[in-house]
């Protein structure tokens, strides 16, 4: 099948592989721009329709094979699908797509038959895939695994299948950045073109100056989605206005924030969108060299990105004299090497230069002196993924959604103790409650909802009673949290907030680059205090408890000093998880210090395990599971735990068949 960029509508079209027409990309979606001919428009539309898959000529099976899908077993699903197809006479094609965002339903398989809307199924494993395919090809809808059907348009809808857009997970979402994820084949440039890809870039090259592009971005109100929330347009303007023979555009795809995975999903599911975004940004600041700095932990994303860049270069969408505009752009991929601090722009640039990823003081800002000492701009993946639509639909379209200071949508990575985990894209200003309870489906197993941790190690916790909070950059700051990159980890009554604070401090303390003292020594001291609070002391006197509570007060002081005096954003935001948990969950800290108890039962060394002799049947499973030999007893008579030997691993509680082991 010839690609869309190879095709001419008629002889009036002078596009050829040797000589590129600058209007060809827009032509694909909008019909011929050079000569008005209704027949040509139809022919163009027909060619694009093939890649739009509004309808298909032969059946297509889509399998979601993002990292999350593969982790859920999509590899075996696709094997089973291929085996099933091999046993049939009619041709069926298989397409690997990215993640649609509903990770909790994976592996996801979609089936589209000619003349029918696409059907989506959840939890399709190697075992049940053949049965589902059998049923669909026989014209039935197997209800058990059904998620829903896509918009039927004019085709014959399936009876008994709800619309995918009305599924509770999707109904409350506004999908702009994730629009194509899970839908299109990420390895096909033509599919992205058919969905309107690169037309914003092509039109911009023809008709706008870099300054006009910056102006449009400024008017749109887009703010950086990577953490700080700096206005993107202003960042570009600063870089544009720094005169230099060489400038650099960098995409930060080093999503180091644990609990966030939207960047990975966007690159895996729709890599060309990010490439178009970086190409527009490079033009806007006057850069001819761009870098993707991407995590080595994301091998699939790197592979998809590499392939997409190759395709774009091959078709002249990047490279020299792009679409006859006189603009050049080279894109390189640099793999990150696993350092959280490289999310900091000056550290990231050091890393690209082949040095330790340590930040340096600003000013000079990267817009003046950045990579290799040249003016540079850095944006994160989600920010750049927003750019093509803003450039095509206009600044007003974008800024019509959102709140006063935060425009557009935000993708949240919803995980933890919530029924529907995955990627959720909502308008800025959506109440947290709607994200967690309505879209996320609430807390599983009938547990009580405790808090949401937002923004990772730079963010903080929002307690359940403030769930009506409308999320945007400002409101989160007021609550001691931060947008960060948008990781949303839900916690229930079983999670200990002191333990969570300790977890983040442990992470930061390991990931601090060590250059400045407040961050290096301060976070270590904070961790020591938290360790002391969460460690059991069997023979502690009251006065010592008071001394330890001074530690909590000290944490607050220390935190505010680290915040004020650290060199970079990592240190400046490092105390946030601790300070916000002290603010909202002081009672838990007090319980740890004074009562030496962990109310949630998470802090191991504060737990005392015991066996209820009434319930114990003397099976001996606990004694077998105990790694420290702390459980004594003879068969068929009640066992007991020797507290001095117990290491509090909880293994006995897990194996006990009658629930006789308790901890408090």
């Amino acid at each position: 099948m010839p690609g869309l960029l190879d095709q001419k509508c008629c002889d009036g079209c002078w596009h050829s592989s040797g000589r590129t027409c600058p209007e060809v990309v827009e032509c694909i979606k909008s019909g011929p721009l050079c000569h008005e001919n209704a027949g040509c428009s139809d022919r163009r539309a027909a060619a694009a329709a093939e890649f739009l898959r509004g309808d298909v000529e032969k059946p297509v099976v889509f399998v979601g094979t993002g990292t999350c899908g593969l982790g859920a077993g999509a590899g075996r699903t696709i094997e089973a699908v291929r085996a099933w197809i091999a046993g049939r006479s009619e041709p069926v094609s298989v397409v690997e797509v990215g993640c649609v965002g509903a990770c909790y339903l994976e592996p996801i398989m979609d089936v589209q038959l000619p003349g029918r809307p696409r059907l989506s199924f959840s939890q399709v494993t190697g075992e049940n895939a053949p049965a589902i395919l059998d049923a669909v090809f026989a014209g039935e809808v197997p209800a058990g695994n059904l998620i829903g059907q896509y918009e039927p348009a004019s085709k014959t809808p399936w009876n008994g299948a709800g619309l995918l857009s009305e599924h509770p997970f999707f109904a409350g979402q506004t999908r702009w950045v994730l629009r194509n994820c899970g839908l299109i084949d990420p390895s096909s440039l033509d599919e992205y073109l058919a969905h309107g890809g690169y037309r914003a870039y092509a039109r911009m090259l023809r008709s706008m100056t870099p300054s006009e592009v910056c102006e449009q971005m400024e008017r749109s109100g887009l703010r950086g989605r990577g953490g700080g929330g700096f206005p993107t347009g202003r960042k570009w303007r600063l870089a544009l206005e720094s005169p230099s023979d060489q400038k650099y555009m960098i995409c930060n795809a080093d999503e180091g924030d644990p609990g966030a995975f939207m960047d990975r999903a966007v690159i895996e599911g729709d890599p060309h969108r990010v490439i178009e975004g970086i190409a527009i940004a490079a033009y806007a600041i006057g850069a001819t060299q761009a870098y993707f700095y991407i995590r080595a932990e994301y091998p699939l994303a790197i592979e998809r990105l590499r392939e997409a860049i190759r395709q774009a270069r091959e078709r002249g969408l990047i490279g020299r004299n792009i679409l006859d505009s006189g603009t050049d752009l080279e894109i390189k991929i640099k793999m990150g090497a696993g350092a959280f601090v490289c999310g900091e722009e000056t550290a990231l640039m050091n890393s690209i230069e082949g040095r330790r990823g340590m930040p340096r003081p600003r000013p000079p800002y990267p817009a003046v002196s950045g990579l290799f000492g040249k003016p540079s701009a850095i944006n994160n993946v989600e920010t750049l993924a927003n750019v093509p639509d803003i450039m095509w639909n206009g600044a007003e379209w974008f800024s019509s959604l959102g709140t006063q200071g935060s425009k557009g949508t935000k993708v949240f990575a919803l995980s933890g103790k919530v029924v529907r985990t995955g990627l959720v894209e909502v308008a800025m200003g959506t109440p947290l409650e709607r994200i967690v309870m309505q879209i996320g489906g609430g807390i599983p197993d009938g547990k009580a909802f405790k808090a949401v941790q937002i923004g990772g190690p730079s963010g903080g916790c929002i307690p359940a009673r403030h769930l009506d909070l409308e999320v945007d950059y400002e409101s989160l700051k007021k609550f001691g949290a931060m947008m960060g990159s948008g990781g949303l980890v839900v916690m229930d009554e079983d999670n200990c907030m002191v333990d969570v604070a300790r977890f983040f401090m442990d992470f930061i303390q390991r990931e601090s680059c060590g250059k400045c003292i407040p961050c290096r020594e301060g976070t270590r001291r904070m961790l020591e205090i938290l360790d002391a609070i969460t460690t059991g002391r069997r023979d502690e006197k009251n006065r010592q408890a008071l001394e330890r509570f001074k530690g909590v007060v000290y944490l607050e002081q220390l935190g505010s000093i680290i915040r004020k005096t650290s060199l970079c954003g990592l240190g400046q935001t490092a105390p946030n998880p601790v300070l916000s948990t002290i603010r909202w969950f002081r009672d838990e800290y007090e319980a740890h210090v004074y009562d030496r108890k962990c109310p949630a039962g998470q802090c191991k060394s504060l737990l005392v395990f015991s066996i209820d002799p009434e319930k114990c049947v003397g099976c001996g499973l606990c004694a077998k599971a105990c790694p420290s030999g702390a459980i004594l007893g003879t068969r068929k008579s009640p066992h007991h735990i020797v507290p001095e030997r117990c290491i509090g691993c909880g293994g006995c509680r897990e194996v006990c068949p009658v629930g006789a082991v308790s901890a408090e």
């Binding site: 990292t67 999350c68 350092a339 082949g354 999670n495």
Partner: protein, 162 residues
């Protein structure tokens, strides 16, 4: 062996024409990818090629979590310790894995079969807790699942040897 190492490093460095300091990390990454880890001799050779002091290269390599200076096992087990995984009990998975393998994280078993590594986040948070064995991601892993996966690896190794 030294001969092989030399030619491998030669090839990797020659794939980065006009080599400057900014190629250092990619070269180290490729060397580790091919050799499984960064042996001292390889670092010395790279330093000679790039005209950089070996101390500087170690300074860079030890800064990043990705680089290893010990060979990995035939089965490289990575346990994710991201926030979502932590909240869903990855500590127990990690402890069970350590117990099954008898090693601490960052180490390799004496028979060279397993190595264990803690990673910050694999980006599959929706499937937490997550572990990966030789790059294959396993989601919603309980401590028992981890033990079973390790047993599977052991059996695979045995059948291949038999």
């Amino acid at each position: 062996m030294t001969q092989d190492l030399g030619s491998t490093i030669d090839r990797i460095v020659s794939e980065h024409p006009g080599t400057g300091r900014d190629s250092l990390i990619p070269i180290l990454q490729e060397a580790q990818h091919e050799l499984g880890y960064l042996p001292r001799e390889a670092v010395v050779l790279i330093g000679r090629k790039l005209r950089l002091p070996v101390s500087k290269i170690f300074g860079v390599a030890t800064f990043y979590n990705q680089f290893r200076f010990e060979p990995v096992g035939r089965f490289h087990v990575q346990v994710c310790r991201g926030t979502a995984c932590h909240v869903k009990g990855s500590l127990k998975v990690l402890e069970r894995t350590k117990r099954e393998l008898g090693i601490e994280s960052g180490r390799t078993t004496r028979d060279g079969l397993f190595s264990l590594e803690i990673v910050a986040c694999m980006g599959a948070c929706a499937l937490a807790p997550v572990i990966s064995i030789n790059g294959e991601v396993h989601g919603r892993v309980s401590p028992d699942d981890a033990a079973r996966l390790i047993l599977d690896c052991r059996q695979t190794a045995e059948t291949r040897e038999a």
